[in-house]
């Protein structure tokens, strides 16, 4: 579509929609400097302790549960991103470039999670793990301290499962129009499969793989519903922690957390954009 003179009404509506998108974010940031602990009404800028207006930010870093939740969230996001990117990329290569028995079924199965409400998948995984763990715990007559329970492991595995389809989707889009002759040429010139993959295939699909990994990472960071059903003691993530807080008293600490979150993600995106530009 080409640039044309825009109608002022359209511009006005667009500005209003942008305002709708940003008002909550701005409110979140402003209230992170609130002097009121209950955080219902803005009672002026806090100025307390050595941190002054950044009082709630300092409180946040002293809060053990927040730090634990941050650590858990990052462990889960990194692990599930690495594993789902590898498995998802392999699946994309298989679906896009090979013919094999059961291809149609594999494709349908792989895309099923995308059109399944998260809660259905979360409940299913919960039912599955409680059945399997219950069975193992009884069969081996494990002592209470040794029993298998939901925790980091189950969350990571579930995140891997819901990320794979998205990675496959993104990588496949990139494989569209991939020229097989480049690989054949490499093999003709005496390269073995491994070298061909490393020197030809991987560099060509790398942007797609990277985009898939970024998507998997974002999905994992943001996930609430599936984590909610698969988490256990000691595996609280940030979204789960925030949800827990919302049912009790919310201090401006949570706003400080949100503000830091937005800025960290902005910086990460800016860096990745910068790298893409350099390419």
């Amino acid at each position: 579509m080409s640039a044309k003179k825009q109608s002022p009404w359209l511009a006005l509506i667009s500005i209003l929609v942008y305002f709708f998108l940003y008002a909550p974010i701005i409110v979140l940031i402003i209230f992170s400097f609130n002097a009121s602990r209950t955080n219902v009404v803005f009672e002026g800028v806090v100025n307390q302790g050595p941190c002054g207006p950044f009082y709630w930010y300092c409180e946040l870093f002293r809060n053990r549960s927040v730090m634990d939740a941050t650590r858990n969230t990052l462990i889960i996001a990194f692990t599930s991103t690495v594993v789902s990117t590898i498995i998802g990329t392999m699946a994309a290569l298989a679906l896009q470039r090979y013919d094999f028995f059961g291809k149609k079924v594999s494709e349908t199965t792989l895309y099923f999670p995308i059109v399944t409400p998260e809660i259905v998948m979360g409940i299913g995984i919960l039912v599955f793990f409680s059945a399997v763990f219950g069975w193992i715990n009884t069969a081996l007559a494990l002592a209470p301290s040794q029993r298998l329970t939901m925790g980091l492991g189950t969350v990571i595995v579930s995140h891997i499962a819901f990320s794979i389809p998205f990675v496959t989707l993104v990588v496949r889009a990139r494989l569209h129009g991939f020229d097989d002759r480049l690989e054949e040429a490499a093999m003709d010139l005496g390269a073995d499969e491994f070298t061909t993959f490393r020197k030809i295939t991987l560099p060509l699909i790398a942007p797609g793989v990277l985009a898939g990994a970024m998507l998997a990472f974002t999905l994992s960071l943001d996930d609430f519903i599936i984590t909610f059903f698969t988490t256990g003691p000691g595996a609280t993530t940030l979204p789960i922690y925030v949800y827990g807080l919302l049912r009790r008293i919310v201090t401006p600490e949570l706003n400080a957390l949100s503000t830091i979150w937005v800025f960290v993600v902005l910086i990460v995106v800016a860096i990745s954009q910068w790298f893409q530009r350099r390419e």
Partner: protein, 300 residues
Amino acid sequence: MIQQIRENRRLQGLLLILPAMFVMVMLLVIPLTLTVITSFGQRDADGNVIYTFTLENYWRLLGFTEQGWDDLYLRILLRSLWLAVQTTVIVILMAYPLAYFIARSPEKRRNFLLFLVLVPLWTNFVIRIYAWVMILRSQGVLNSTLGAIAGLLNVPFQPLDLYPSQTAVLIGMVYEFLPFMILPIYTSLEKIEPSLYEAAADLYANAFRTFWRVTVPLSMPGIVAGTILTFIPVIGTFVVSDILGGRQVILVGNLVQRQFLDARNPPFGAAASIILLVMTLVFTLYYTRRFGLREEIAAG
């Protein structure tokens, strides 16, 4: 063995897909099968599942109980469906003008305008709902702003009672999913050839007719993709309604969650979850068939 793999492309394909299929079978196929089995079961007094075959849970959800007709759960199902429809329609109405505006902006500015749409998505899902609590509650930002304006204009002001309410849930849902509609609509608008507009103008179509007969049909793939991306998560969520609706707004998601975690009746929760899945699949299949765009959906 290695030699065999090297020469057999079918075998290579199978080996590449194998890990993904293993994960999907373990964490999708088996869990869903178990959910279906559980939904035909009953629970004992302690909340343990007794595996039998009864359709009782489904009948109860549809209103037929042992005590006679009770449409409590049927109303929850319909409410979820209705809320998902409302959200999707409002989101389309808000997203379309903005997507159109971005698509018609100078090329250099488009990426920045799109970037602005994405930034709010990077706060956390739960945090975004909390932001709306701060805005909508009785002493919140909206009421104090409106109160201040009313004070300036010297008109009486009655604080709005929006939180918790069904309206608050609707606002929260619209906010959560708006960017997921803007992006696909923009993508399809951006692909439209400018020459098509010129052709329409040459054929004496006025601006409205051009929009209705050229722009809208060509942006349908974007609307359909955006609808799928909005409708499915909205119909299954329980977080937005939980936080913004208080105890007033119970959706299927809340029902499923409570049966599993509070009421300890997994068979009933499993049946509700399966009905939710069926509703979603019926919607997706009908909707994509109706607009004949299955591949567009598959491509995201």
